[in-house]
Symmetry: C2
Subunit: 127 residues, 2 copies
């Protein structure tokens, strides 16, 4: 994972509590609040966080909506005390519905590949 | 990480929600309930879970007490629907007090080394 990605940078503490990440604010590149983290999706075998479920409600043209996005799309910002992402309103509008569904089949690597391609994120299983 | 360690085995789903891990029961090797997971400690840079904070209350000789233990000490058991650990009552009684303190200095690798040595767990930064 690239330096600084969801990392809190080099100035922050190296560890963070899971229940502090849950509920953290998410901001767009300009620092505007666009949502908050609902939960983390953990790969059992490795103990790594691979996705976050984010509730987006800060865009004008969209209602409150939850999306699953790769963890690498979020970068911790010490100044804001939350996470930045470059995800756009347009991307959210176009996100395939199955990425949001409860019955999304997480074990299907092809579907995961599609999800990462859509968000232009590197595959977590190759890093 | 060894196969099956905190993994849910090969039969379970590969991913699990953070808020499902929090609150999960912890059992001793014989299947006796000894506590529950309070939270996870995440390494920001890598996005890996490295510790769990476990509230132990199921041993006869001990009161309710929270301890920070390496994630590798817990192994998911599909049958029990919770995590098994080989941590003993004797180990908990002897655990140095600073491992439980709020002001434990997580950035100090020497202290982390001591913690892992105490619990006989492999260092997470070498795997």
């Amino acid at each position: 994972m690239a330096q600084g990605s969801a990392s809190g940078g080099i100035t922050g503490k190296p560890l963070i509590e899971s229940d502090r990440v849950e509920g953290s604010a998410v901001y767009d590149p300009s620092g505007k609040y666009i949502g908050s983290i609902k939960r983390l999706m953990i790969e059992k075998m490795s103990g790594r966080i691979v996705y976050t479920v984010v509730s987006f409600g800060g865009f004008v043209g969209l209602g409150e909506d939850q999306h699953t996005v790769p963890w690498s799309k979020l970068t911790y910002d010490n100044g804001l005390g939350g996470y930045r992402t470059d995800i756009t309103e347009e991307q959210l509008l176009g996100a395939p519905i199955f990425y949001r569904a409860d019955n999304y089949h997480w074990a299907d690597r092809e579907q995961e590949r599609g999800l990462h391609d859509y968000w232009a994120a590197p595959y977590y299983w190759s890093v």
